[in-house]
């Protein structure tokens, strides 16, 4: 029997509660560290119901604040900004410095004679950088990020993302008509890899995958199939990532609680951020970083991979269907997953919907994940 009720995936009430309890109390991915370059640069992130600003100070340190003016609560900043000297609220121009302290109020003597500016500061949140990524927590004194991810680093890829370069054409953003947990469960579903993706992820030896949970975080690694491994130089789509020495070869695909996945392969490093928008809507943002390489190296490797693929791996789309609009025929595993997630969400409304059984090994991960959600919601 499923651990979570159907409402967990469909009801607004459950969604709101989840936002408050889970997303209001956990570290969440907020971007790559290079997204905030210079003092005065900022980005805003949604953490559950709370919008949070991350700004870089003149001491080069990041500070996180709730995006809420202390005057009358107006949203202080929009989206992203560069090289601000101070943060000014659009409504009545109350102005805060980069440390979040109130520094000026228009017509202060007349309108607020008793207000003590230095007593007022934006509400603080927590921010840190871990493995080249920005992380925020809505609470001011969150547990250290290293504590939150304790034990995870060793089970993840050896990649040093700070060294890798984001490949500009790689970013992908899509609103999926499914609950964020369906997206997460799909990500952790080991059973589907050999089936849904039989022609898109066939370079991996799914039967020898190693996976499990560390705390609330899901860890996954699977080796290459010998055919792929033996012809790696020919087949890998991009330049080999330096840290991915032979002992690590394969793919690390962890899911960091609550809503963030990574795909760390021999030649690419991708982030997968599933942002809950509503009970049946999730925005997925994927960004990819590669080993630094020249344009020429890039072209050469992708041509080599493309030209060798068919001969070595063989490739037919699953249903022999050549319709380019059919998600099951694109040769793109993401499209396959999106299709499966949306179909699953739709079925939740069907009165006949039920789950006969979940797989003993390959879907144990989903049961564990649901158990974790349950634990959070009941605490």
């Amino acid at each position: 029997m499923p651990i979570l009720p159907v409402e967990a995936y469909t009801s607004q009430e459950w969604f709101d509660k989840e936002q408050e309890i889970i997303f209001g109390n956990s570290w969440q991915y907020a971007g790559l560290m290079e997204d905030i370059q210079d003092p005065g640069d900022y980005i805003t992130v949604q953490c559950g119901h709370q919008n949070i600003v991350i700004v870089k100070g003149r001491d080069q340190k990041l500070r996180a604040f709730h995006n809420l003016c202390r005057h009358r609560g107006t949203q202080l900043l929009r989206a992203v900004g560069k090289k601000q000297k101070a943060l000014t609220c659009p409504y009545h121009d109350w102005t805060y410095n980069l440390s979040g302290e109130l520094i000026s109020v228009p017509e202060k003597e007349k309108e607020f004679p008793d207000l003590e500016l230095d007593k007022i500061c934006l509400h603080k949140a927590s921010v840190d950088i871990w493995r080249g990524m920005l992380w925020v927590h809505p609470k001011p004194n969150a547990e250290p990020i290293t504590e939150w991810f304790k034990g995870c680093r060793e089970q993840m890829g050896p990649h040093d993302p700070t060294r890798l370069i984001e490949y500009p054409d790689s970013s992908y953003e899509k609103v999926i008509n499914a609950n964020w947990k369906i997206v997460a469960e799909n990500f952790m579903d080991v059973y589907h890899l050999a089936h849904l993706h039989s022609n898109t992820l066939q370079m991996y030896d799914h039967a020898n995958a190693k996976f499990g949970f560390i705390g609330d975080h899901y860890m996954f690694w699977e080796p290459h199939v010998p055919k792929y491994k033996d012809n790696l130089d020919q087949l890998m789509p991009f330049k080999r990532i330096k840290e991915m020495t032979d002992e690590y070869l394969g793919a690390f695909v962890p899911w960091l609680f609550p809503n963030f996945g990574l795909s760390e392969t021999e030649s690419s490093w991708s982030t997968f951020h599933a942002i809950p928008l509503g009970p049946d809507k999730t925005k997925v943002v994927v960004r990819t970083k590669l080993e630094p390489m020249t344009n020429w190296e890039y072209q050469k490797q992708s041509m080599k991979s493309y030209n060798s693929w068919h001969g070595i791996m063989g490739s037919d789309t699953k249903y022999g269907n050549q319709d380019p609009d059919d998600p099951m025929a694109t040769g793109d595993f993401m499209a396959e997953d999106v299709y499966a997630c949306e179909q699953q969400q739709k079925s939740l409304k069907n009165p006949l919907f039920n789950v006969t059984m979940t797989a003993k090994y390959g879907e144990s991960t989903i049961r564990t994940f649901q158990g974790i959600i349950k634990k959070w919601m009941e605490q």
Partner: protein, 352 residues
């Protein structure tokens, strides 16, 4: 309380400095445990006279290494020249257990970025902190800005180079020389030039943005550099409570400001469960009065840097000639340095 410690080794990291290794007997092991950054107060007998000086430990308590201090020659300096020349292996010195508020409380699990600033002999406690962080707090990182006069005055250059090689992702050292020698060594100085002034601090911070966002700043050196660095950091919005300073002395008191002290003020001292009633002649510090009267006053540096002589001002007012030991929050609690305090009211009560 002083303990006799034997000197087990002496070596010269540079021509003008001597590293002294102490042999700590087993029974004193616990007593001589320390936090990286702390110093020893040592009683020397130079030309038949007693002289006390403070020296920071450059060894790390997190490594299996013996207690070590490094003393740099000061022109005309009594003790530093005695150590650099007359002290011998096998000699015994009287040493107080490690102390001082300038230290890093390093936790194995912490995830922090350390910004360290040292000039000249000020490298000693900084080296202790640096080694401790590298070996104990394996997630934390360090950026060190280290100022010296020229190539041949850089204490621990080789050791720092080796550590930088061993921990390429966790330690970055930037040297800056105020007066590099052109032909001193086989190669010309290609590093940064100049003192650690405000511009250098700003440049340094901008060049080394932190990864771990919990930061600490440690500054140590002689002279006025320390306060200059603090000012520069605070100018960049670094919160004051994250900045730790050790002052080795070498600052001249501000000559333009004379303190108008009261003559013959009465002093009531509560110490060790006893009460003493004394008089303070004009211009004398509270500590001097107590020493003259043979009250057991704790002190060591007598120059306002170590904080050993701190006590609570219960009533009355004083003005301190200099204060590099107490922070604002200490002052708010009513702490004063007896070695620096002149009476500015008729009646004073203090408690140790």
């Amino acid at each position: 309380m002083f303990h006799k410690l034997k000197i087990s080794n002496l070596r010269q990291p540079i021509a003008d400095a001597t590293t002294v290794t102490f042999d700590v007997p087993n029974r004193l092991y616990d007593a001589f445990n320390y936090y990286p950054g702390q110093h020893l107060i040592i009683k020397f007998q130079v030309n038949g006279k007693e002289a006390r000086r403070s020296y920071s430990l450059n060894s790390s308590p997190f490594r299996d290494e013996p207690l070590e201090i490094t003393v740099k020659k000061v022109k005309g300096g009594l003790v530093s020249n005695y150590v650099n020349g007359q002290l011998k292996i096998g000699d015994e010195l009287e040493v107080m257990v490690p102390q001082g508020r300038f230290y890093a409380d390093i936790k194995k699990e912490e995830y922090k970025t350390y910004y360290l600033f040292a000039a000249g002999s000020g490298i000693t406690p900084i080296l202790s902190i640096l080694k401790s962080v590298l070996y104990e707090a394996v997630e934390s990182r360090i950026h060190l800005l280290y100022g010296n006069t020229h190539q041949d005055s850089i204490i621990f250059k080789e050791e720092l180079d080796a550590l930088e090689q061993a921990f390429p992702n966790r330690l970055q050292v930037v040297h800056t020389l105020s007066n590099p020698k052109v032909w001193s060594t086989w190669e010309q100085w290609k590093g940064r030039k100049g003192r650690i002034d405000e511009a250098a601090v700003e440049w340094f911070i901008n060049q080394h943005p932190p990864i771990a966002q919990t930061t600490s700043y440690f500054i140590c050196g002689p002279g006025a550099m320390n306060t200059g660095i603090r000012k520069a950091l605070m100018g960049l919005d670094v919160p004051r409570e994250l900045i730790h300073i050790e002052q080795f002395g070498g600052t001249k008191a501000d000559d333009n400001h004379t303190i108008d002290s009261v003559d013959n003020a009465s002093l009531e001292v509560h110490i060790n469960g006893q009460t003493h009633s004394l008089k303070i002649p004009k211009g004398k510090t509270i500590l001097q009065v107590m020493k003259d009267a043979n009250t057991q006053a704790p002190y060591s540096c007598e120059s306002g840097v170590c904080g050993t002589c701190a006590c609570t001002l219960v009533s009355g007012t004083v003005e301190m000639k200099s204060n590099m030991a107490l922070e604002d929050k200490d002052l708010k609690k009513g702490l004063i340095l007896s070695c620096q305090s002149l009476a500015t009211s008729e009646s004073i009560v203090i408690r140790f």
